[in-house]
């Protein structure tokens, strides 16, 4: 079955499954366990102009069906990424999405500009939603005006397809989505992690070195689906959904809620080959439910879709 998906500015994925930023490094780390070339795309770990140290450990903490992290966007900077990591990624047909971060609007612009026109970079994902850094980061994603400013600066610096990654930690995610759409975003990706906290009751203090962290994993799937479902109705650009995907049926949930593709993060730590499995199973899972193309599934659960109740197989009309 043909699983390819098309996005604005010529971005075409062979299938709708993308490795989520921060959970798949820069590509090579998992290559022993994952068929990297079979993925639709990879969103690499967030990169900044200069490189950041990140937060003090511990940086992860397990929660019920979830994971709290406080990595703090440690990264070697965009130049190191281009020199050391990009060549590895170029060998695959998989589309490379570079997740970009900055402390200021200008830093976002710089890193976008540096990546423009580079062989092997297929799209940018503007991360205005990371809850793990004090300055910048999430605050850009919590205010429509700041989100607009970041996207506008990025738009001015690149011809690449650009998606903006939404924070769930806001009252109205749709307002942020509309602001970045107005500033020229080609796609929305949603969601980043939900701000959370755990207490280490033995040490009598917050479990994470960074105090609060970002919650990911199956626990947040309902929150992610809600935001995808709402935002898909509030913008005209395509949405890429993520948050808690564990299995092929979860992908169908996101697509029906209005996503055109999905990203898969935390579950990779448990099952490195899960993304490959999902891609392999997708045609059969679709077929068994009577679908023959992704287009029939995308948005099928949104209001106003004609056929959003699969008919009862048996009629009891008397």
């Amino acid at each position: 079955m043909d699983l390819h998906v098309e996005f604005p500015r010529g971005l075409t994925l062979a299938n709708p499954v993308i490795a989520a930023s921060g959970t798949f490094g820069f590509g090579p780390e998992y290559s022993r366990y994952v068929d990297v070339g079979a993925l639709g795309g990879i969103s690499v770990k967030g990169v900044s102009p200069k490189g950041w140290d990140g937060n003090p450990p511990p940086r992860v903490w397990e929660t019920p069906m979830g994971l709290l992290n406080s990595i703090g966007l440690q990264n070697p900077g965009v130049d190191v990424f281009i020199q050391e990591d990009l060549p590895f990624l170029r060998q695959y047909p998989t589309k490379v999405i570079v997740n970009i971060i900055g402390h200021t609007v200008e830093e976002y612009r710089q890193v976008a500009e540096r990546l423009n026109g580079l062989d092997g970079v297929h799209a940018l994902e503007v991360n205005i939603s990371c809850p793990n850094i004090k300055q910048g980061g999430m605050s850009f994603g919590q205010d429509p005006d700041q989100a607009f400013a970041v996207m506008q600066a990025v738009r001015g610096a690149t011809d690449l397809p650009v998606m903006v990654k939404l924070s769930p930690n806001v009252t109205f995610p749709g307002l942020i989505a509309q602001a970045v759409e107005a500033a020229g975003a080609d796609m929305i990706s949603a969601i980043n992690t939900v701000v959370g906290l755990a207490i280490d009751i033995d040490r009598r203090r917050p479990a994470l070195g960074g105090v609060t962290g970002g919650l990911s994993g199956p626990a947040i799937k309902p929150v992610a689906l809600r935001i995808v479902y709402e935002v898909a109705q509030q913008v005209r650009i395509p949405v890429i959904g993520m948050g808690g995907i564990q299995k092929t049926e979860d992908v169908l949930e996101f697509l029906m809620a209005g996503a055109s593709a999905v990203m898969v993060g935390t579950i990779t730590f448990q099952h490195p080959d899960r993304m490959n499995q999902i891609i392999n199973q997708l045609p059969e899972v679709m077929r068994s439910r009577g679908f023959s193309s992704l287009q029939e599934i995308i948005g099928a659960a949104l209001p106003g879709k004609a056929d959003n109740t699969a008919e009862e197989e048996v009629s009891y009309e008397s």
């Binding site: 780390e29 022993r32 994952v34 068929d35 990140g54 992860v60 397990e62 730590f269 448990q270 080959d273």
Partner: protein, 259 residues
């Protein structure tokens, strides 16, 4: 079949109670048995994250490795209930293990609690390749928690046991016997694994007097270098830099660390 899927499944061929609340599982796996002491396995349990466990013994001839762990939480409790013939889903061997000791220099292995297992693997692997017999110092909270004592005895290496509560061996911790050893040996090589405060103290004792290799623990996500969860502060080009325990370690040289 996904990449390396075959390597992810290892059957349990033996299970023993290693001490009160401590279990050792012996796994059959060609891949894992190619490990270097100090490397680890990332084991699937019912939680969100895999559990990192060092190899307690490595037997490439029979394609076997051991995992020896204390039951401390949900994952180790689940593992402790596994039985012979059960199959575990394991990533590994992961990380950088200990370097082989310089055969002509004296060496000492210092383990605290569940830091002991990788040191047994190291002793077993390298005992025949060094000129001087290593000293082994193992510590535990209490006598009932001392692990692998008989294994070391079977190797015939000099062994000092310490317990915090004095219920077995020398009362106190591993530092006093290590101090004695360091005073008696020049150009010594220290192999250590155990709780962070113990390793920090060993680092201070050894710096400038001996080469010390410390096998660290840290909370992990991926276990393969992708997520940057498992970092420790190390000496970088310009000040501190965080490095990954899972791939840059778990074994670091004492002078690399910045604690």
């Amino acid at each position: 079949m996904a990449k390396e899927e075959q390597r992810l499944r290892s059957s349990i061929v033996a299970r023993t109670l290693a001490a009160q609340g401590h279990v050792e599982l012996i796994l059959e796996s060609r891949e894992l048995s190619r490990a270097v002491p100090g490397q680890f396995a990332h084991v699937l349990t019912p939680g969100m994250l895999r559990r990192p466990l060092s190899f307690s013994r490595i037997d490439p001839e029979h394609n076997r490795v051991g995992l020896l762990f204390q039951v401390v939480g949900s994952g180790t409790a689940w593992l402790a209930e596994r039985q012979t013939n059960d199959v575990l889903d394991v990533l590994g061997p992961l990380g950088h293990g200990f370097p082989a000791p310089d055969p002509v220099r004296p060496w000492v292995l210092v383990g605290g609690g569940v830091g002991v297992p990788p040191l047994f693997a190291a002793t077993q692997m390298w005992l025949q390749h060094t000129i001087s017999t290593p000293q082994v110092i193992i510590g535990a909270r209490t006598g009932a928690w001392v692990v692998m004592e008989n294994d070391f005895k079977r190797l015939g290496v000099p062994l000092t046991v310490t317990t915090d509560d004095g219920s077995q061996g020398q009362p106190g911790n591993v530092l006093a016997p290590l101090q004695t050893w360091l005073d008696a040996h020049r150009e010594g090589q220290v192999y250590a694994c155990g709780p962070v405060p113990m390793l920090q103290a060993i680092r201070r004792l050894a710096l400038g007097r001996a080469t010390a290799y410390l096998a660290l623990e840290q909370r992990m996500g991926c276990g393969i270098g992708a997520c940057l969860a498992c970092v420790v502060p190390t000496v970088g080009n310009s000040g501190m830099s965080y490095r990954r325990v899972c791939t840059d370690g778990p074994v670091f040289k004492a002078e690399e660390l910045m604690w």
